[in-house]
Subunit: 224 residues, 2 copies
Amino acid sequence: MQDQRDSILACACDLYLSDGFAGLSMRKLAKEVGVTAPALYRYYDGREAVLADLVRQAHRVFLDYLRRGLEAPTPVDRFLSAGEGYIDFALEHPRWYAIMFSGSERLGMDAIPDDIQSMGLAIHQFWNDRVNECMRTGVLKEGDPEGVGLTLWAHSHGMVQLYQQGRLNTDEAGFRRLMKASGARLFGGLMNDDYAARLAELAAEESAVLSGVGAASETDGVKG
Amino acid sequence: MQDQRDSILACACDLYLSDGFAGLSMRKLAKEVGVTAPALYRYYDGREAVLADLVRQAHRVFLDYLRRGLEAPTPVDRFLSAGEGYIDFALEHPRWYAIMFSGSERLGMDAIPDDIQSMGLAIHQFWNDRVNECMRTGVLKEGDPEGVGLTLWAHSHGMVQLYQQGRLNTDEAGFRRLMKASGARLFGGLMNDDYAARLAELAAEESAVLSGVGAASETDGVKG
DNA sequence: GTCTATAATCCGATAGAC
DNA sequence: GTCTATCGGATTATAGAC
């Protein structure tokens, strides 16, 4: 039954999330589910298949996080929300993030199944869409959207990895600050100058007055 | 004897580099060295200790790569050479790169030994030094040098990781192109505008004439 | 210092009874 | 569909003879 597969997968998530990668064995998994090991093979071909489903699950949740801010009013808001979703996911589910970005070798598979690769592409595409929007409305400088998306993605991914490996000597709050500063630095260099100037103006206004002017200032695009 | 430790480490490198992470067992290692497994425990406390030495070795080689271009004439040349060294190392020794940036959990250790953390800090410092130089001579915009160093590092690290996990769907040559383009995009946004303009001029001159003017144009800093 | 032998675990996967 | 029992293999690490 599909019910059993679901509960096996749920237990596999728990096990992986608590004991990590090597901690996920068919025996332990069976004990967690409440059956014996051989029973698992009725639902999954083997450990590989369980792992693959875990990776699928991670991709699904990740995409949910990314899409969380999709109803934001402007392209740049949607972009920033997606970025926040990215970081939230990475920080709230470090092990899922880790398993998503584990190569096939580390997963003990010959190759990543096609459907998982597709999910990866969907994420890539989502990211590029956010960039495209920002470029069309003149927030970002004109240029190769895929390239810009890659630059931004690599930066986020690298930041997360360095933090998760303990190379940044800071806690989560500190990392969020670092991430925000670094992201602003990067994004600032990719923005159109006139938009950057307008942004600076707005920031100055906001710090002087205390009002909510910022929200509607973008749909009347600067360039597009 | 130290000789034996050295030859064990050398064999451990071979084994790890050919068979990967899980392929490095004390038994296989012993067979490779030409002794039996228990003999290894005279020189290493266990598998952990061998791995730690591997990580040390990787750090040493990595620093060599970074320092390769240290005799370049100008700060920005030294920066670019270090960046090339970074990419060369990652591409020529992917497994060493991988083991360097493996968290303690994946290495099966409770914590990264202090001396290894120090080596990591040295690399971080080297990177920041390159940034500092470029900032002092006015190539890079004024700002937090550590922050800028982190932004650049995260970007490089992220690019390498995405490539090595097969997310970029390209070969090594293609990756080098992507990396160069993305690096230029990032670096361009962090440069001083007047320097960027001067760089554009130089590029124009260079494409028109065929001469070697570029080298001496930097020590007379634009700003510093 | 190195060996043989072995302890003590763990693993994935399967055969066959029920 | 689930069980018991088991195969066949791996691993780290240690005890004790030489």
